[in-house]
């Protein structure tokens, strides 16, 4: 493994300044390191300087009424052990639990997962279903972007060199679910992942599917099939079938396209039934 220098900026400005003085190939950003260190080990990248986000004040979790803002460098495990997340945004809790092992989640972060933008991410689908937004900070200040726009079609997020992700906001706690299928339950890449959520204020549904190429997507015709409030059994069945039919699946060594279409329809139906009548749970904090 190629050696590198490790630097520890103490503030956002210091971190951005570190990036400004470097060239894109020469520098990398480190959060939990669970993706980055493997990339370096496998010589996919060879940065000479690694900028650690460890001391930035971004490990926070902030409720404001029904909306939740999650600091990008907060370890995933912190989301899992916060009871209000399990109660009020159960799909997020299920998706976080789907990422690797407990020891991995003690270090892995939401920001790292989003910036890595793996088509197989277990977190992107639920963030899409929750209409989450990403806060990007850079030399020109801060901007908020919907996750849907942040994930691009090129397997790289819409993040310019020199920019960092500071936080992710979930505008509204929603009854939600994330169901996945893999060969081994832990430390295996999902063959499919389905996230669903229902807006308690507006009543509409979101259905997002992961492990599709080139990136997780919402399946709008499936969402539109859920017309009644609450949707009928027939509507749920046709929405689930549409999710199976319309997901941009491909065949790879983890599963065939046909298998994935079948499984996604099954999982989407279960997930929708799980949230169809669920009341938004838990008192407002």
């Amino acid at each position: 493994m190629a050696p590198f220098d490790l630097v520890h900026p103490r503030s956002t400005d210091e971190a951005l300044a570190e990036l400004r003085t470097a060239s894109p190939e020469g520098v990398a950003v480190l959060a939990g390191g669970t993706d980055l260190l493997l990339d370096i080990d496998r010589a996919r990248i060879a940065p000479r300087r690694v900028v650690s986000l460890r001391y930035l004040p971004w490990k926070f979790l902030e409720w404001s009424g029904d909306s939740l803002t999650i600091g990008s460098t907060l370890p995933l495990r912190a989301l899992e052990v916060e009871p209000r997340i399990r109660q009020r945004i159960p799909g997020l809790w299920e998706a976080v639990r789907a990422v690797g092992s407990v020891a991995l989640r003690h270090r892995a972060t939401l920001g790292g997962n989003l910036v890595r933008s793996a088509p197989t991410s277990d977190l992107s689908p639920i963030l899409l279903a929750l209409d989450a937004e990403v806060e990007v900070v850079g030399p020109h200040g801060s901007r908020w972007t919907p996750v849907d726009a942040f994930l691009s079609d090129s397997r790289r997020p819409r993040l310019a060199f020199g920019e960092l992700v500071r936080a992710v906001r979930i505008p509204e706690a929603r009854p939600s679910a994330y169901h996945w299928q893999r060969v081994r339950p832990v430390n295996d890449i999902s063959q499919v992942g389905v996230a669903v959520a229902r807006s308690p204020s507006e009543g509409y549904y979101r259905i997002a599917v992961g492990d599709v190429l080139p990136r997780p997507v919402r399946i709008l015709p499936a969402e539109e099939a859920l017309r009644s409030r609450p949707p009928t059994d027939d509507e749920v069945r046709s929405a689930a079938e549409l999710a199976g039919k319309l997901s941009p699946f491909a065949t790879d060594r983890r599963g065939t396209e046909e298998y994935r279409r079948h499984i996604v329809a099954v999982l989407a139906r279960r997930a929708l039934l799980a949230i169809r009548t669920a009341a938004p749970r838990g008192p407002a904090p």
Partner: protein, 157 residues
């Protein structure tokens, strides 16, 4: 660059000469500090054999830089025996015959210690067993390990 990180291992502050800033905690523990109880299985985060505690929470030392734990307390299997929780877990493993070749055992013990530190015996059993799935064992078939985990959990209740 090489610099000397400062952290404690098993309640003693380590006195290291400068080491590369790209060094994994796993290598520092095994090769510089001689703490060979922490095992290297896959080096890719998949097996759990390298699990240690950093500030009482389990982490994979193969995916953690030594310099990233500066200022923290690291506990390895060698230090855990001195703690009540550690002693109970190890006794449970012995009582249940939950160790065969033993290569996975330190990782399991550390993972279990982290869970018991975090929430004692609370939480549902299914979640508890799920939380140990990041550790692989190629010998026991897991039945005796599950029993040992359950026994340790009852012992700290």
């Amino acid at each position: 660059m090489t610099t000397a990180p400062s952290f404690t291992v098993n309640a003693t502050s380590v006195d290291l000469s400068p080491i590369p800033e790209s060094e994994r905690l796993l290598d520092t523990l095994r090769w510089r500090l001689g703490l060979k109880g922490t095992k290297e299985g896959c080096r890719t985060g998949n097996c759990g054999a390298c699990t240690v505690l950093v500030d009482r929470a389990s982490v994979l030392s193969c995916l953690t830089l030594a310099h990233e734990v500066a200022g923290s307390e690291v506990t390895t299997i060698e230090g855990l025996a001195a703690e009540d929780v550690g002693a109970r877990i190890m006794q449970s493993f012995a009582d249940e015959g939950a160790s065969q070749c033993g290569y996975c055992t330190p990782g399991f013990v550390m993972a279990l210690a982290s869970l018991l530190h975090e929430r004692g015996a609370a939480g549902d059993l299914a979640g508890f067993e799920e939380d140990l799935q990041g550790n692989l064992c190629r010998c026991t078939g897991y039945v005796s390990i599950r029993r040992a985990a359950q026994r340790a959990r009852e012992a700290v209740r």
